[in-house]
């Protein structure tokens, strides 16, 4: 059913929008054997590397039955780890949201020298190994660090305590919100804000009534990604936590301890909660992306 005359370029929908393969022009269609082979190779690769690891988490979590699973996640140390993870997220995510909005507002709405350098520096934590992200805080706040002697003299604990965990998590998740908002706000431009200001709105009114409604989906997306990483961060937190059971163990660290004690079912029970978080993140991400392509 391929059209005899190709439609003019301007009206041609992009590839993804095409309704059926049979309507693709011959020139861009692969032979059937290639389609089957490539689809098979892709799905096999993804099955081995993505589906199996995900399935094994839940299979192992319930390998000793539902009662064991419930006991493992209700045990006091597990609950303490869950509480610490939630506390960390409750501090880190809002802090990075405020930063992300401030950075995007400055970068997208104004012109100033050094803007591209600033954008690069915001992305910097993505290039740093999680282990090194933890290490640098030890160098600043640890017993042998810059502020170590002063902190010890004033009896303030940062490393091997909750503040260190919060700081290391903030470092690792630093760019997530900002890098979602900057391109979005740049694309939206400043026309609507100008109109609001011209009509007499002050800065905060402009932000709350004009900018925020425009960026809410991008902001939500950034928060979801930031939250997933903050809850799951392992390397950076591992360096600064001190691994004190019931006190400075986050959920991923608790998983590690149980696993190293050969409590495999218990480790996977707690891990399955984190895997559920990952699945929820992917579902929400797909919905937000779907909404964005719809409204675009």
């Amino acid at each position: 059913m391929a059209p005899a005359v190709p439609a003019p370029h301007a009206t041609r929908p992009p590839f993804g929008a095409r309704p059926a393969r049979s309507e693709l022009p011959r020139a861009t269609r692969d032979p059937a054997w290639a389609r089957w082979a490539l689809t098979g190779a892709a799905l096999a690769f993804l099955a081995f590397f993505l589906v199996l690891p995900l399935v094994v988490v839940f299979a192992q979590a319930f390998s000793k039955g539902g009662a064991y699973f419930l006991a493992a996640i209700r045990e006091p140390d597990a609950l303490a780890a869950i509480r610490l993870t939630l506390l960390t997220v409750a501090i880190v995510v809002p802090a990075n949201v405020v930063f992300g909005i401030a950075a995007a507002w400055a970068i997208a709405k104004f012109r100033f020298p050094g803007k591209s350098l600033l954008t690069t520096l915001i992305d910097l934590p993505f290039a740093v190994s999680p282990v090194i992200s933890g290490l640098v805080y030890v160098l600043v706040f640890g017993a042998q660090g810059w502020l170590g002697p002063w902190l010890i003299a004033h009896n303030i604990r940062i490393i091997f305590a909750v503040p260190g965990i919060v700081l290391a998590t903030a470092f690792v998740t630093f760019p997530f919100v900002a890098r979602e908002l900057i391109p979005l706000m740049q694309a939206q431009g400043t026309d609507e804000e100008y109109s609001a200001v011209t009509l007499g709105a002050n800065g905060w009114q402009t932000f709350w009534r004009v900018t925020l409604p425009n960026i809410r989906w991008g902001l939500f997306y950034g928060v979801i990604l930031c939250n997933a990483r903050a809850m799951g961060e392992f390397g950076a937190v591992s360096v600064v936590s001190g691994h004190i059971r019931g006190e400075t163990n986050t959920m991923p660290l608790h998983v590690e301890i149980l696993y190293n004690e050969y409590n495999i079912a218990g480790a996977f029970a707690v891990a399955s909660l984190l895997a559920l978080l990952a699945i929820a993140t992917l579902v929400i991400k797909s919905i937000v992306e779907w909404r964005q392509t719809r409204t675009a």
Binding site: F15, S238, A267, A278
Partner: protein
């Protein structure tokens, strides 16, 4: 542009937002990172070389760089295939498969680590089929490679996919009209067009794999000289209170990451230029 220049006076909040951005960036990222460089600057050259070039450290570099390169290469090949299948073909469940590609970004690394170890250990779901063939994955180089492949999987797919989506079908039609067969079109027309994004994805996956810790430590077995990756060596040195040794190795890794970041930026500029033509 006159409009943009006047923006400084019309919209409020420039000083506040930029001031907060710089303060937060400085406190959370720049000051701590500079601590690593300043700490190393206090070391003598001889001590520094001794710390970053001992046989155990060299073995760790070799493993980290080698396994990351191999994983990046596998991801380049399969990432291209996955991106191609997701953009060009339709099959049931395609949207779910597309969403699943981001799993390594969303799944906490420790969870990925214990899941992969459980799959590939000699009595695991995959390991038990490999054991009779004499193939050991868990606690060997192959295990490190598998974990790094998992962690780098989304990068190539997500850099190639948008480029493939925007590719005009006209160029393939033109190639076909001019007498090229499908294979020639793919090799001579499509692959060169996709090369910048393929390389960018490869570099991103490689950079991520170099620093990866959580998904590797469980499956690698962590034997010094054999299956000890560089991030683990940094932690080991820290646990032995060898802060200088740990920091010196960290600085070597930070410099490698920054060079890679620069390379990735250049690659992205190149690929953007490719596509505005």
């Amino acid at each position: 542009m006159t409009r943009a220049r006047s923006s400084r006076s019309i919209l409020p909040g420039f000083g506040l937002s930029l001031g907060f951005t710089l303060a937060y960036l400085g406190l959370i990222v720049l000051v701590p990172l500079s601590a690593a460089f300043l700490r190393t600057a206090g070391m003598s050259w001889h001590d520094f070389v001794a710390a970053v070039a001992s046989p155990r450290v060299i073995a760790a570099y070799r493993l980290s760089f080698g396994a990351s390169l191999a994983a990046g290469f596998v991801n380049m090949v399969f990432g291209l295939i996955v991106a191609w299948v997701l953009v060009r073909y339709s099959f049931p469940g395609k949207r779910i498969v597309d969403a699943l590609v981001d799993l390594p970004f969303a799944l906490p690394t420790a969870v990925a680590g214990i899941a992969l170890t459980s799959l590939y250990s000699p009595n695991g779901w995959i390991g038990r089929w490999l054991a009779p063939l004499g193939i050991r994955v868990a606690f060997t180089w192959t295990g490190v490679f598998i974990a790094l492949t998992f962690i780098g999987l989304p990068f190539v797919v997500r850099t190639v996919q948008p480029v493939l989506q925007e590719l005009e079908p006209e160029i393939e039609e033109a190639a076909s009209t001019l007498g090229a067969n499908r294979r020639q079109t793919v090799i001579r027309i499509l692959l060169p067009e996709l090369l910048p994004s393929l390389l960018t994805g490869f570099a991103l996956a490689f950079a991520r794999a170099l620093g990866e810790y959580g998904s590797v430590v469980f499956i690698s077995g962590n034997m010094p000289m054999k299956t000890e990756i560089v991030p683990l060596l940094i932690i080991t040195k820290l646990e032995q209170y060898d802060y200088r040794g740990a920091t010196a190795i960290a600085v070597v890794m930070l410099v490698s990451s920054f060079v890679l970041l620069l390379l990735i930026n250049l690659l992205q500029k190149w690929s953007r230029r490719f596509h505005t033509i």
